[in-house]
Amino acid sequence: MINGVPVQEHYRDASHQFASAKEGIWLFMATEILMFGGLFVGYLIFHMKYPQMFAEGAQFLDWRLGFVNTLVLIFSSLTMALGIYFCQINQPKKAVWALAITILCGAVFMVIKYFEYTHKFHMGIYPGRMLDLEMLNQHLSSIGKPAIASTNLGMYFGFYFCMSGLHGIHVILGMLMISWCLYRCMRGDFNPNYYTAVEGVGIFWHIIDLVWIFLFPLLYLVG
């Protein structure tokens, strides 16, 4: 322990350790972005191939819910940044509050997602081969809308569920990690010289928000 910082013995000092940890986290973020990048590439390819089908699929997504979720996540990014800031200026109580609000925002996001998902399941919308076109068309005729023209609508929802699902898993992981930071913060682990964990989780959370900011227009708005 140097100045309340647990410095591992292969580092010269706290700032050396902090810089290394931060570089490691950014590298890991690069892998996350590339992983989502694979999905985006697939999306673009098939969007070009079947624009009609993607337009048909997008009409089942409620852009208002997506927009609310976007706002929620952007706000949570702010509170996450505040959490780090309060750790830096040695106000752990405020930091705890900021982190708690961030977790809450994550939960709101997931609840809205839950309602979006279950609503789709009710209409018979499942990913890929499992999409029940008959059930969906019945539902559409009951509300006086034309039947689906694309036979492979399942692929759109394959993308939808894979992309938003993988993102959702990351949100849950982020919430767990923020909870861990919250616990450590309450325990008094962090101080202006040592807040690596909050900083790292914060970077992760921002990247997850960033991915959503790309997902939202691609899935909800590009019709």
Binding site: E9, H10, Y11, H16, F28, A30, G38, G128, M155
Partner: protein, 538 residues
């Protein structure tokens, strides 16, 4: 920190299995990797012997699936074994091989660091590999996977075997690879000892650094590809399934976007080892240090843009084929630069024929053949004939086994005294070299000819014209097996009965040889200070 008692080293500082399984010492984690990777190698090797045994002769009147082969009960058994041979050797042996064993132990030592940047992550990455491997082995006891290690769709979607589990296993081993790469990049950036500038780093470190960049940037694509395949099998997402308008060829693009750079994850560290061996055993500074270091980075960069050369006949456009062929030619140049620099290093040197150097010379010999056949395969019309034939099989074994495995063996014999503080029997090591080197050529050279004759790969049975060369090839595989058994004996015997190793038995100049043999827990008693390049044989 208390100074370790005299005579204490990283091997005996703590005792008991538990102290090994929870160790954060990069050297101990390297040893853990060594034991596990060698176990996987043994499994993959047995699979290879079974495949070669089956191909010893063609089956008369091979007909419906029930027909038994020469050695294996059925074509299905053959297909399963070839899948496990490929998957084990690629994901669990050659990819982790040099970085995770030799890199883990010697990267920090060579740059004068006490450990890697993230020791806990380092241990976690070993556990990832073990978890992935356990899952993969588990599928052997359920429905054995028969897709080949490439998991090409739509066969991998249709196959009724444990593909999903296997794919998840590969995903987890990929995770392990990412963590190792990330760790190495930060270690190289942040933990070099005073005076160790980037341009004073040993070439092995440069190679590992370039490899780590590929590991971090390419493996995520494998991750998402494998996840999508798992999703495809579970939910029928449709992206790779032609029945839903998906594109099976897209899978190949995704797969090779990772798996071609992965080829360089396998070979770049090997090239790093060879740079160390050639300079040490020529007792001469490396020729063209900067050129070799830059060529590693160059290979790493270009490797991301050549994946399509695996797909010249897959139905991609003529234009795409031509572009990929062109870029592949470009990747040949840095490889050629390395070869010439190594040979030039030997000029006016003092060349010792100690066993590590024999492996290095063997590498140059085999890799030259692997390299020129690689250029042949990059020329599209020639590749159209050779694609998916034994020519390709021979080519990548010359590169992967003749290259990487020879380097692992050479590097292992080179650093053995440092790792364990003991010497092995030079006679045993040379015998193992003779059998492996000759056996390798006997096994794989005939396969070039078989490929030229048109024998397709992944064939359980073949037409009679191919039989004589297959026989030779199978006999060669037995010689390789004998070679590795001798190596195993030499290593175990060295561990038990070996004489005590001096600090620097080969007269090397790099930093790891200034540590004790075996090194203490903290590597160096005093933090080293570097004032010159790595290979100052003046």
């Amino acid at each position: 920190m208390a100074h370790a008692a005299h005579g204490s080293n990283y091997l005996n500082a703590q005792k008991g299995l538990w102290s090994w399984l929870t160790s954060l010492d990069h050297k101990r984690i390297g040893i853990l990797y060594f034991i596990s990777v060698m176990t996987f190698f043994l499994l993959g090797g047995i699979a290879a012997l079974l495949l070669r045994g089956e191909l010893f002769a063609y089956n008369v009147a091979n007909s419906a699936g029930e027909m038994a082969g020469q050695l294996l009960p059925s074509a299905d058994a053959y297909n399963q074994i070839l899948t496990y041979h490929g998957a084990i050797m690629v994901f669990m042996v050659i990819i982790p091989g040099i970085p995770a064993i030799l890199g883990n132990i010697f990267l920090p030592l060579q740059i004068g660091a006490k450990d890697v940047a993230f020791p806990k992550l380092n241990l976690a990455s070993w556990y990832c590999l073990m978890a992935g491997a356990t899952l993969a082995m588990f599928t052997m006891f359920s429905t054995k996977v028969d897709t080949g290690w490439t998991f090409y769709t739509p066969y991998s979607i249709k196959s009724g075997t444990a593909v999903t589990t296997m794919v998840i296993a590969a995903f987890i081993t990929g995770m392990s690879s990412i963590l190792t790469g990330l760790n190495f990049i930060v270690t190289v950036h942040k933990l070099r000892c005073p005076g160790m500038t980037m341009w004073r780093m040993p070439l092995f470190v440069w190679a590992l650094y370039s490899t780590a960049i590929i590991q971090v940037l390419a493996t995520p694509i494998l991750a998402i590809t494998l996840l999508l395949l798992a999703m495809e099998r579970t939910f029928g997402v449709g992206i790779f399934d032609p029945k839903l308008g998906g594109d099976p060829v897209l899978f190949q693009h995704f797969f090779w976007f990772y798996s071609h750079p992965a080829v360089y994850i396998m070979i770049l560290p090997a090239m790093g080892v060879i740079s160390e061996l050639i300079t040490t055993f020529s007792k001469k500074t490396i020729f063209g240090y900067t050129a070799i270091a830059y060529s590693s980075l160059g290979i790493a960069a270009v490797s991301f843009f050549v994946w399509g050369h695996h797909m010249f006949v897959s139905g991609q456009s003529e234009f795409a084929g031509v572009v990929f062929s062109f870029l592949t030619m470009l990747v040949g140049v840095p490889t050629a630069i390395k070869m010439f620099n190594w040979v030039a290093t030997m000029y006016k040197g003092s060349i010792s024929f100690a066993s590590p150097m024999l492996f290095a010379l063997g590498f140059l010999f085999l890799f030259a053949i692997g390299g020129v056949t690689g250029i042949m395969l990059a020329v599209i019309p020639v590749d159209v004939h050779f694609h998916d034939t034994y020519f390709v099989v021979a080519h990548f074994h010359y590169v992967m086994v003749g290259g990487t495995l020879m380097a692992i063996m050479g590097g292992f014999y080179y650093w053995f005294p440092k790792m364990f503080g003991k010497m092995y029997s030079e006679f045993g090591a040379r015998m193992s070299w003779i059998f492996i080197f000759i056996g390798f050529n006997v096994t794989f050279f005939p396969q070039f000819i078989l490929g030229a004759m048109g024998m397709p790969r992944r064939y359980f049975n073949y037409i009679p014209a191919y039989e004589p060369l297959n026989r030779i090839s199978t006999v060669g595989s037995w010689m390789i097996a004998v070679g590795f058994l001798i190596a195993l004996y030499t290593i175990i015997n060295g561990l038990i009965n070996g004489a005590k190793a001096p600090k620097n038995p080969w007269g090397s100049k790099t930093l790891e040889w200034e540590a004790d043999s075996p090194p203490s827990v903290h590597n160096f008693d005093h933090e080293p200070v570097v004032t010159a390049g790595p290979y100052e044989y003046k």
